[in-house]
Amino acid sequence: MGFSLIWYLKEFGRTAWIKKFLFAKTAPLTTPSYFRGFPEPTGRICQHALFCMMACPAPGAIEVVHVGKGWMPRIHKGHCIRCGLCVEACPHGVLKSGRILETMEREGTSLVFSFRVVIDPVLCTGCGNCCTSCPVNKVADAQMGAGGHSSNDEVIMKVQAGDVVVIHEEKCTGCKTCEGACPTNAIRIARILEGTQQTVHEGPP
């Protein structure tokens, strides 16, 4: 019984054991549908609001590019950290990821953007490149010259007595053109993201 060679061969030659020994034991794990993956298009039309690029915390992770005649956000893998903020920030629901959109709809949440213009007075040379490069300034005061001087008070910032003065911070759209134009890295645009939630009525109204 337990002493013959044939018994041992039978005992250790079981297919189940050999299978367990040679092949992977657990079934390949599948990612559940509610996990946040890289954001995917829902099929709605992108209106070029660019809130996704403003909300994105990872540098170079999302770009809104021309696709055919319209615009479409493009996610760069290797930069994207799958936080889902672009999905939440989009006012038109162009992207989806996991169940973020469903949760937002159920709980009535949304994101509000504001921007703060911070200028380091030590680094700033008062050259006015930021004021000249700003596209909002261009609309507000088309006459603004290379020095960044302006007689108009509707601009975001202008040069007064050799210093850049921020007048209308609330007009900033967060494009960060000024950051690229500054020769001394003195100007920074801080993004302030506020989450809001509507009052949810529970039970019968």
Binding site: T26, L29, P59, G78, H79, C80, I81
Partner: protein, 151 residues
């Protein structure tokens, strides 16, 4: 191809030794590599053994955004690994520097500038299944028929 060679290829592809090197990460991806070792994902059932000794390794997992302290050391680690070998970049940091790639930081991504990278796993951090899949795909392409391709 002789039968012996066939057996050799099969066995080699099913016994991978892995070393991982952290070139300045936030430890998020290290935790995910660690999760591969845990019973839920269980990397050893695929014949992958995390040994962490480059002289015995086949696959090098590179984690992190390449800080200046690694400038000569990473290439040294890579040279110590005997052929056939492959390096897999885990996470966003070795690919792009992720959120650390900003002004006034000292990191120098991507890591593929410094050592040849066979596969990159994007994600911050990538899921253990994705890491596992990358190692398995590298295994098939690099180790399956190595001696015939490099006589």
């Amino acid at each position: 191809m002789t039968i012996l060679q066939r057996i050799k290829n099969k066995v080699r592809a099913r016994s991978i030794h892995v070393a991982y090197v952290d070139v300045g990460s936030c430890n998020g991806c290290d935790i995910e590599v660690l999760a591969c070792l845990a019973p839920r994902y269980d990397i050893e059932q695929y014949g992958i053994f995390v040994h962490n000794n480059p002289r015995e390794a086949d696959v090098l997992l590179v984690i992190g955004a390449y800080t200046p302290g690694w400038e000569e050391k990473l290439a040294m680690v890579w040279e110590k690994i005997p052929d056939p070998k492959a390096a897999v970049a885990i996470g966003n940091c070795p690919i792009s520097g992720c959120v650390f790639n900003r002004r006034e930081t000292f990191i120098d991504p991507p890591v593929r500038k410094h050592i040849p990278i066979a596969a990159e796993v994007p994600g911050c951090p990538p899921r253990p299944t994705e890491i596992l899949q990358a190692i398995l795909s590298v295994r098939d392409s690099v180790f399956a028929n190595w001696e015939a391709e490099h006589p």
